[in-house]
Symmetry: C2
Subunit: 207 residues, 2 copies
DNA sequence: GTCTATAAGGAGATAGAC
DNA sequence: GTCTATCTCCTTATAGAC
């Protein structure tokens, strides 16, 4: 095996470890949130020491930033794979369904909605902001398309729809249902989707 | 003035200071969240020293617990004052509207939805849990009543409606609209109510 | 690149004077 | 009951050996 091959292998191992770290950060972040997540937690979960962790990510902020970036990238990928779905409304439903499933399986909600300081921290991360804007642009386009098609209420400003849409991906009702109801994940997803699109009010059959 | 009178007066002053502390805690909690709120922050906002603060509340957990209890009590009071509204659905709308207004004016969202550890901390607070259960019982009754009247979708489990209803009181979309849209508070409330009850989908006029 | 050990600073809580 | 000064622990981050 050549030196280059070996270097490349090392790089691969490096990437793998980095991914393991991001996985651990995702888990810890999901359960404790940013403020209570410690670098010890993450290092412990991966099975490495704290200084090693700092060799990969030079600060807690950077680690969390990269974790969120990977998450957003996952969403962008997912959106790109939705080509076969015809309508904008259908795509929006599918994306929300996907986000809810990710969360129910222990993932993170899209939004660091949790607290203003965390949000501000992320907003200082240029790379993160760029990805968010990319995803945001695509979703906004879908919202406007669906409004034009009459599948989403066109009397609502698209901001309202878009922000509320994000909010549904991190709806705390999901946690409560998972914890206090006997409902399975499938039902939770089904009901959350229904409530997001139709609200609490009795929906009339469209035809 | 008798000794008893003086004591009573002192008690009154004590209560007043305690309320000032709770006000400060509410403000700080609203802006920074539980984890980042320090006892120094609260003491500084009230204009007293930290040891004095600890004379009133023996720990950070207790302080936050009492703050949340006062909040829930406010909601219960508000609900009691809704006698003149006829329908259950009308009451639910009015309560959500009230909660959103409180938040927009710098108050706290009902739910410590933010993070699991905070939620668990509060759930260990017996007094808090009792108040929450009281409010919860009243709201659940309203939901079921509205479902029976056909004003809320009766095919939804009442859990789903109730948890989602709570979630709307702390919907992060409110923050985003307040920060990034040029919308006034009135419009924000209007749209959030509409989205909560009707969802994103075009709502057909009922008659 | 990985570890052990530690620096530096922050935050909850308290001792003790007034 | 209020304050100044302090204790103690925890967390981010790094120095330095291997």
């Amino acid at each position: 095996m050549s030196i280059f091959g070996k270097l490349s292998f090392k790089d691969q191992a490096f990437k793998l470890r980095e991914n393991a770290i991001l996985d651990a950060a995702t888990t810890v972040l999901g359960s404790k949130g940013y403020d209570l997540m410690t670098m010890d937690d993450v290092a412990g979960a991966v099975g490495i020491s704290k200084p090693s962790l700092y060799k990969h990510f030079k600060s807690k902020e950077e680690l969390v930033g990269e974790t969120m970036i990977r998450l957003i990238d996952g969403a962008i990928d997912q959106l790109a794979q939705l080509g076969e779905i015809a309508t904008a409304r259908g795509k929006l439903e599918a994306m929300l369904e996907w986000a809810l499933r990710v969360r129910l399986e222990g993932g993170l909600p899209f939004l660091p909605s949790t607290s203003t300081p965390v949000r501000e921290m992320l907003m200082r991360n240029v790379k993160y902001v760029m990805r968010v804007l990319k995803l945001n642009g695509q979703l906004e386009k879908l919202v406007k398309e669906a409004q034009k098609a009459g599948d989403i209420d066109a009397t609502l400003p698209s901001d309202v729809v878009l922000y509320s849409y994000y909010a549904r991906t991190c709806d705390p009702a999901v946690d409560y249902l998972q914890k206090f109801s006997k409902m399975g994940n499938e039902d939770i997803v089904k009901y959350m989707l229904h409530v997001a699109f139709n609200g609490f009010t009795t929906s009339l059959p469209l035809h």
